[in-house]
């Protein structure tokens, strides 16, 4: 079943400049989709359109069979179903304490008592109960990211829109985010992630390369098989992929482990 369908969606900034032109996209339930592209390609704008925070200048967005309209912006059901993790945790953490921030969404959806209960539960699930009474200003980058994730997951969304979730994080916190996404994927949640992180792209079922328009749609393996596209998407090419391109091998691995398997097979072949 299609969760999102974008039909010829275009968006023009108030300055008159076009951010996106004729975007056609489909996101199915339970899929993990990566959106990649250079800076300023309109990827964040695309997520905001999908979260009904902005309305398309042209075209139509369909969510679960219904068109996204101005009313969707304040629709409780839509807000509960779709969670948006913003790139900067500083815009997600605006209350006096982390608990209040995490409870912000649930309280608006389910009222104070239930909202607080769910927020505490979410903090416990993410093992950050100790941050509950802390002021967001006093948190480290990793703690802010975890608190921001809790802000979204406390609403128990079915669809997660993630804007560069691993940006500016150290290895440990990047791994934490990756594990969270693996968990959502296992739970068959729909995940749309804007990213430059190769490890995240590898997790995706499908990838869109966007630069004002959709330049490519396919699997991560198909993307990494096309060096010219990787360049246009302004992505780092993994060293192992570069090696296979240089060797002129057709089969492209997405990880060192896969490369080892291919090379072992290659070695065995006469």
């Amino acid at each position: 079943m299609k969760v999102y369908e974008l039909k010829n969606v275009s968006y023009r900034y108030p300055t008159g400049e076009w951010a996106l032109k004729d975007i056609n996209m489909e996101i199915k339930r339970g899929e993990t989709v990566a959106i990649v592209g250079p800076n300023g390609a309109g990827k964040t704008t695309l997520l905001k359109l999908m979260d009904a925070l902005l309305m398309p200048t042209e075209g139509e967005i369909i969510f679960e069979g219904r068109p996204v309209t101005e009313e969707t912006m304040t629709d409780h059901e839509f807000r509960q179903k779709v969670g948006f993790l913003f790139q900067s945790p500083d815009v997600m953490l605006f209350s006096a304490t982390v608990l209040e921030d995490v409870a912000f969404g649930p309280v608006h959806l389910w009222g104070k008592e239930e909202g607080l209960k769910r927020a505490r539960e979410e903090l416990r699930k993410l093992s950050i109960e100790d941050l509950a009474s802390r002021h967001p200003y006093s948190l480290s980058g990793g703690e802010k990211k975890k608190a921001s994730i809790a802000c979204v997951t406390s609403m128990e969304p079915e669809v997660l829109l993630l804007d560069e979730p691993t940006r500016d994080l150290d290895l440990k916190n990047r791994n934490f985010v990756l594990e969270m996404i693996r968990g959502w994927k296992a739970e068959k949640k729909t995940v749309v992630v804007v990213t430059h992180d190769l490890r995240l792209i590898r997790l995706a079922d499908r990838v869109y390369v966007v630069n004002g328009r959709v330049l490519f749609e396919g699997t991560p393996r198909e993307l990494f098989s096309r060096p010219e596209l990787i360049e246009r998407a302004n992505l780092d090419v993994p060293e192992i992929v570069r090696l296979f391109h240089m060797l002129g091998l057709e089969e492209i691995p997405l990880s060192v482990e896969e490369a080892a398997e291919i090379l072992k097979r290659w070695k065995k072949e006469p």
Binding site: K48, D51, L53, M73, T74, H76, R79, Q80, V82, G83, F84, F86, S88, D90, V91, M92, L93, F94, S95, A96, T97, L99, E100, A103, F104, G105, V107, H108, L109, K112, L116, S133, H135, P136, Y137, S138, C151, V152, M155
Partner: protein, 270 residues
């Protein structure tokens, strides 16, 4: 640039200190355990009493009561006293010093052809003590209360939700913007050799202020989207829950007793 940089750094340090002053609000002292609603009421009652007093001895007694409350609330007495007395001479001096020479009465001494009167000196001392004592109670309140408690207490007094929302967001983002401003100033400093002249430094300050406004605008827009995405409709609901306990009743009784005794003493009934 030096003056502006120093000013910005001091503003940042002061505001950051205001946040970290929550470290006193987290201590297990007397006032920290009092219901914030009661603290607000007591603060208003005590300050109103102090400003209506004419007897310097009673004002001094109230000042020492504030000091005693500070000690019982585990606030460092020296820091508390410094916070009160650093600003008092600056702000009250502007008003109090001229009155020494302007209020008619018995001559005390002469300086630069101006005659100071005993009545003028008495009024200046009374005024300074009133301000110092009132400021002491206000600082006691802010040092022993956490921002979310203050906001929740104000909300329980039916302060309009929009006022609460604006003050919460201001409190959260003032530090972030101050830090952004300071970072920008440091970045410019790193590219400068020598000092700028006064005119140039003011031009640079103008650019910084302009850039900060633009950043604040962008941040505000993103923040609104982030709130909207989590079901925001028109205001932030403070989540603090308070319960009146034994200590609160005792503190209410003590405040009432102090006010009654003061009124009785100043009217000659004691």
């Amino acid at each position: 640039m030096g003056f502006l940089e120093d000013t910005a750094r001091e503003v940042l340090e002061f505001t950051t200190e205001a946040v970290f002053s929550e470290r006193y609000a987290r201590k297990d002292g007397l006032l920290q355990r009092i219901d914030p609603r009661l603290k607000i009421v007591s603060l208003v009652v005590l300050i109103t009493t102090v400003v209506s007093l004419q007897d310097i001895r009673v004002i001094i007694a109230f000042y020492f009561l504030a000091l005693a409350l500070a000690v019982l609330s585990k606030l460092p007495a020296l820091e508390f006293t410094k916070r009160v007395w650093v600003f008092i001479p600056i702000f009250t001096g502007i008003i109090a010093i001229p009155s020494i020479f302007m209020i008619p009465g018995e001559s005390a001494f002469k300086i630069l052809g101006l005659t100071a009167t005993w009545e003028g000196i008495r009024w200046a001392v009374l005024f300074t003590l009133r301000v110092a004592t009132s400021v002491s109670y206000a600082i006691l309140f802010t040092m022993t209360s956490r921002w979310n408690e203050i906001v929740s207490a104000l909300a329980s007094f039916k302060v309009p939700g929009m006022v609460i929302t604006i003050s919460t967001l201001t409190y959260r983002y003032i530090f972030l913007l101050a830090k952004l401003l300071l970072d920008a100033m440091h970045a410019r400093r790193a590219r400068l050799a020598g000092d700028l002249g006064m005119v140039e430094s003011w031009k640079e300050a103008g650019k910084h202020i302009g850039a900060t406004f633009i950043k604040a605008n962008t941040l505000g827009e993103e923040l609104y989207y982030s709130m909207l995405s989590r079901g925001y409709v028109n205001e932030i609901q403070p989540l603090g829950e308070f319960r009146f306990e034994g200590l609160d009743y005792a503190f209410s009784a003590l405040t009432a007793l102090i006010v009654i005794l003061t009124v009785a003493f100043t009217r000659g009934l004691l």
